[in-house]
Amino acid sequence: MNGQEEKSEMREQRSEMRDPLEPVTEFERELTKAFAGQRVEAPLGFAGRVMARAEREPARGKLLAMPVRQWRAWAAGAVAAVIVMGALQGERVHQEHERRVQAQRQFEAAEQITDQALAQARAQVQRAISLSE
């Protein structure tokens, strides 16, 4: 094996053994310069086209994508609203019932007074008839 071949083999062994990233070779540095340093600009109007497509997306997508935490907040709000509305409705029904009961009582009292007045009138009429006989 001549010196040239030996050198070449040593180089090859070195490259086989080394970590692909350590040490960074000149070639790798050039690759980084070419790729990381030269990111390709998106085509003109790219963001606008993405936005136009996003606007056409159905709202359903967003709703389904809502995280659990947000779902919980929405559900808690809805439950609270239902409870408040239920309480208000209950209160309204109760007041109506009270009014109805009171009206009934007033009607019964009026009926009683009327009955008493009629009875008195009837008694006076009877008395007058018996005196005249």
Partner: protein, 172 residues
């Protein structure tokens, strides 16, 4: 909704170069890359609220872009890949490099990158465009670190060998 749209537009503008470059270097086609990049951002639009921060978003964008780009590449199968082993078998890497990088060399390197087999191309792009470490790439791709390192090493050798042959005037 207006605020949401403005925020989303900001995200697109902040990351479009990264996403588009990644898509372009993996697919090798401008039109396909735009299609992939648009789809990636739309997917982000649908799931943005699940992402917890800028790092998470960058990780997510890289992962989805790579997956979508490789899917597009497989669907099209437009670019005949050269037989990697044929190039690698007699390749040697000596640690020297490309003499000065200019627009011509960059364009040639882009072309050579496009001729790499898919698995090697993806790791080379993630390593040298995104400057990610092998374990980060492995995490992103869901592959063992050893596989990533092997693909990276083989991809580099192949790229180097091709550069030596086609860019004699630049490669020392």
């Amino acid at each position: 909704m207006r605020t949401e749209a403005a925020e989303f537009r900001g995200v697109v503008e902040r990351h479009q170069r990264m996403v588009f470059s990644l898509a372009l270097r993996v697919t090798g086609e401008y039109g396909t890359a735009e299609e992939v990049a648009q789809d990636v951002f739309l997917e982000l639009f649908r799931s943005a609220e699940k992402l917890t921060g800028e790092d998470h978003m960058r990780f997510w964008l890289r992962r989805v872009t790579v997956h979508r780009a490789t899917d597009a590449l497989r669907r099209k199968a437009h670019r005949p890949e050269s037989a990697a082993e044929e190039w690698v078998d007699d390749a040697h890497v000596d640690g020297d490099g490309v003499a000065g990088v200019g627009p011509v060399v960059e364009a040639r390197l882009e072309e050579l990158l496009g001729s790499l087999p898919e698995a090697m191309r993806v790791v080379v792009v993630l390593r040298y465009q995104e400057e990610m470490l092998p374990d980060e790439i492995a995490n992103l791709l869901g592959q063992p670190v050893a596989t990533v390192k092997s693909n990276l090493q083989r991809g580099l050798k192949l790229l180097r060998r091709k550069a030596e042959i086609t860019m004699k005037e630049y490669v020392r």
